[in-house]
Symmetry: C2
Subunit: 263 residues, 2 copies
Amino acid sequence: MPNNPTAAIIVIGDEILSGRTIDSNVNTIAKFLGALGIDLLEVRMIRDDEAQVVSTVNALRNTHEYVFTTGGIGPTHDDITADCIAKAFGVDISEHPAALKALTDRALKMGWALNDNSRRMARIPHGAELISNPVSAAPGFQIGNVFVMAGVPKIMEAMLEDVVHRLRTGNTVLSRTIKLSYVGESSAADALREINGRYTDLSLGSYPYGLSLDGAFGTQLVVRGQDAERVDAAVNELKAALVSVVEQGKARNPLASFEEITA
Amino acid sequence: MPNNPTAAIIVIGDEILSGRTIDSNVNTIAKFLGALGIDLLEVRMIRDDEAQVVSTVNALRNTHEYVFTTGGIGPTHDDITADCIAKAFGVDISEHPAALKALTDRALKMGWALNDNSRRMARIPHGAELISNPVSAAPGFQIGNVFVMAGVPKIMEAMLEDVVHRLRTGNTVLSRTIKLSYVGESSAADALREINGRYTDLSLGSYPYGLSLDGAFGTQLVVRGQDAERVDAAVNELKAALVSVVEQGKARNPLASFEEITA
């Protein structure tokens, strides 16, 4: 959408690319950004590889207003994200007093001694601002337009709470969904194309579902845009067009129907 | 791993980046490639945007042995992947006789008339080989080293069956996992780093879990590599080192323990 901030996500971790772990952070961040009117334009998932992390961060931070990274800021030898970010920005990295205090306070509270590995999580690139971690203390950080967060979903979600007030917001996208049941996607394609041709400021999408065991199938038709009146008008035109689509669909399947849903 | 083929995935679809849809294909393809000894090095998720699809395909097909795309090959106006791939390869696109036959046969079998929108799914870039779709007939295709597949997970999975015999396989990666319970990730970091320093041909990873409602937490330690004897030796050393880690961990939490699991 014009003038909205743009964003990219970098998911860092061998465990994602090996298939060992299923990422869930992309969807969480995508919804978070959508609610703020920030347009997520790209996601990259890469390995714990210094050259790849550095080049990906530098490519995306120069082309998007915001970059969010997840993963690789824990205490073990394969947690290389903080060092890679320092390298990407050409700055030094060392223990950050507030980060060390957060880790020390947590260790005291838990009755632990802070070992050298945990202490490693206090190393923060120079010039970065911390992102607080109310779950397990080890902070993320913001440097320039890059937000470096944990990979563990509960920690990442908590960190977003400390990021939200730092972001420029845009116009949020309104979305309305019509569920077209027992009618194939291709039957609605003419109406969608025709309406989208006249509403070029909106995005009309079509998402088939089904192939489920009970035989249910159909298509969800989604109208998205920033202007409520335009979205309403397009939805009304779409509904009018679907009356005849469903009428014809009944010849194939008597269960053919449509209704607006909250998706 | 040296000499293994490398691969990248491109997930194409506004619905992923808006957060409307949660991708599950990346994990399916990652596991599929892992079993074949093909190293997945990168995933990119992008919008249904011609310039972005063309440039991403061209960037990745020149740097990886294989590229897999999902999404955007349906019958509606926002399904632009086939045209983008033709543009990326600089070839024309038109109806493919075998693709049209598959769609016509399916329509006949279902008692449908094939409408122009469905017929659009028979358009295939010149020089491509079809990928069969036993679920809903509309084929994917392979052109050069790029495999273009559907976004609907059940269809994508079925298409992989027709892709597997076209791929050069590599050495599969063996993986063994030790679950360290009620001990923090940082307590095992020294042992991991030390062993990984001597087994540079292996990959040792550490993945914390927990923060669950029942209070269980810990770390899964994963040893990965191609040489079974080396993997076994490293696992044995790791287990030996964990005996004292757990002994110390019991001072913090009497439930501290470790065991090998099938992850």
